[in-house]
Symmetry: C2
């Protein structure tokens, strides 16, 4: 059997799946940010028509899949598999939002790396010949995340300068064995990396080592350098975490340069919107990818994009027990051409 | 591209991966049950040497993987991917237990269907040519589950007759492209099924419709009947849920007969151990499979086994908000011969 791996973590897809459709939705703050024009829906009601925020988050998952299907001219029956997960305990945003679709479902948990994990597995199942159309999606919600990880929003807690703002957003990407691109050409599966950071108000620093680890593996195993990409995006490391990644590569003599940025730095206007270290949450990188980035590729702004969302695999319980924060980063490469180097 | 599907949910693997190694560990109650002799380790200390139960559950994940690697004569570097998840919020049993192994990691969430989901994805990645050795594992812990889903154990809450006992157990299965079997020949990915059950003390009834749905799809799409299997096992439906599955098939004129049972009915002696409706938790089906079942296949007790663990995709929050309980069931078929019909 052919092993399609380029190394320990990276797979080069022999028949790169194509993006067939994508959609993203957000709420009030996302509508005030610089990427507002790239959203398919901006709902000013943070309950999304429901009576609880958790049900609101589930409604986001339902709506973003419906929109992606509609934009692609697809029916729910057309999807062979759906990968989804979110930050809520037991991933109820996904399971409740998607229960009526009747699509074979694989629940995943990668914290804020979920969009990368879902795309990676979707691409592998298509390239392996097991499916023709597979969806990958995720969501996050400021109010459900604050209540679950920190304090209920009405308590009005002070936030530390390193804290990030959990996006109220969802993104869905549908990959297919046929299509006009962008194509998903490489998958790099992350390892869990934990360098001992314990401050759960500084997730960027906790996740940065995982991003550095996965990006290093991708560059090395695929024999590429940052210069081979038009855009390199980590997912929600924010200002501090992305600076750490930049510095780590600089120590190796590798300049990431202007082509590198972080989804958490793109979604909001940090000055005007007072977002501290930037945006975060599964929905942050998912919305940035499934709007701004993929549309930008289709419009010719970038030809080759490295998308590497990062997740912090902690829980409030693990933090209460004094544990450090394990991180993970799953990377995928999108290209406007099928040619794989 | 060849679509390897037999239908909407079932894939027939063209090069069925082999079980290369497996292990299971349990604690005090598991050691008093009828399957005690099939465990690789029975630890009477429910903390597994740690100071909190959550860290104890993580230790179970670490130990069961170490044992499976050791039994297979494998090093951690030999595994191409590892799939794992558990019931704890944000799956910290898996992420903390497995963070030191440095194995490319895909976190999954399928509640008590996790063992089936992990095996399904592991088998697909191997058959697709992306990996040669992949691990799938999960765990559950009575004390962490009680605290998180119901009441802390020291409160001494009364349990309802339909309640099940969350197993303190973990199981790990390593699949490979080479091996002497048993072989994993078919994968049936479940859909989320929710018929409106809201009683979170009656998970068996909530998950039974998902088991019926997935088993029906598998029988139909692979043109098999229950008679084609020597053993059909659902995962932790317990006494009530498994009776519902049996009755549903009887209504269709299909007799499951003696070859059908449930992992939740096997792990404990329900009479002597006072386990109410039976065992449950991700670790229940994982331990039953990765001891009793796989060893039984190797010893010639069964040739063809249908393993279909079931998960309840609820959270305490969704129940507090009056929501019903979505269920899911992922099924895989093991056979002592590679020949696929």
């Amino acid at each position: 059997m052919a092993n399609k791996r380029m190394g320990r973590q990276t797979v080069k897809l022999t028949r790169p799946p194509s993006v067939v459709s994508y959609a993203c939705i957000g709420s009030k703050q996302e509508g005030k940010g610089p990427l507002a024009g790239y959203f398919d829906e901006l709902c000013p009601d943070s309950f999304f028509g429901k009576t609880t925020w958790e049900q609101g988050e589930a409604a986001m998952q339902e709506r973003v899949l419906s929109r992606a299907l509609h934009k692609g001219g697809l029916q729910r029956e057309d999807l062979d598999y759906l990968f989804a997960g979110d930050l809520l305990n037991q991933c109820i945003g996904s399971s409740f939002g998607l229960r009526d679709f009747q699509i074979p479902f694989f629940g995943i948990y990668g914290a804020c790396s979920t969009m990368g994990e879902g795309l990676a597995l979707a691409a592998l199942l298509i390239d392996g010949g097991f499916a023709q159309l597979v969806g990958a999606q995720t969501s996050s919600h400021f109010c459900t995340a604050e209540r679950q990880y920190r304090m209920p929003v009405p308590y009005g807690s002070q936030r530390s300068p390193t804290a990030q703002w959990t996006a109220t957003a969802a993104g869905c990407c549908i990959l297919g064995s046929q299509g006009d691109g962008p194509y998903l050409t490489h998958v790099t599966c992350g390892k869990i990396v934990d360098l001992g950071i314990t401050d759960s108000s500084n997730m960027g620093a906790a996740m940065a080592p995982a991003a550095y680890d996965t990006l290093s593996a991708l560059f090395q195993e695929s024999s590429t350098t940052p210069n081979d990409y038009d855009l390199i995006l980590t997912g929600d490391l924010g200002a501090l975490g992305s600076r750490i990644v930049r510095e780590q590569f600089a120590k190796d003599g590798v300049k990431l340069g202007d082509r590198y940025t972080d989804c958490g730095l793109l979604l909001y206007d940090r000055e005007k919107q007072d977002m501290h270290a930037g945006g975060s949450g599964c929905g942050c990188s998912a919305a940035v990818l499934n709007g701004y980035v993929l549309r930008g590729m289709q419009e010719g702004r970038w030809r080759k994009v490295l998308f590497a969302p990062t997740g912090a695999l902690l829980s409030p319980t693990s933090s209460f027990q004094g544990q450090s924060i394990p991180g993970i980063c799953h990377a995928v490469v999108f290209s406007t051409t099928k040619e794989v180097r």
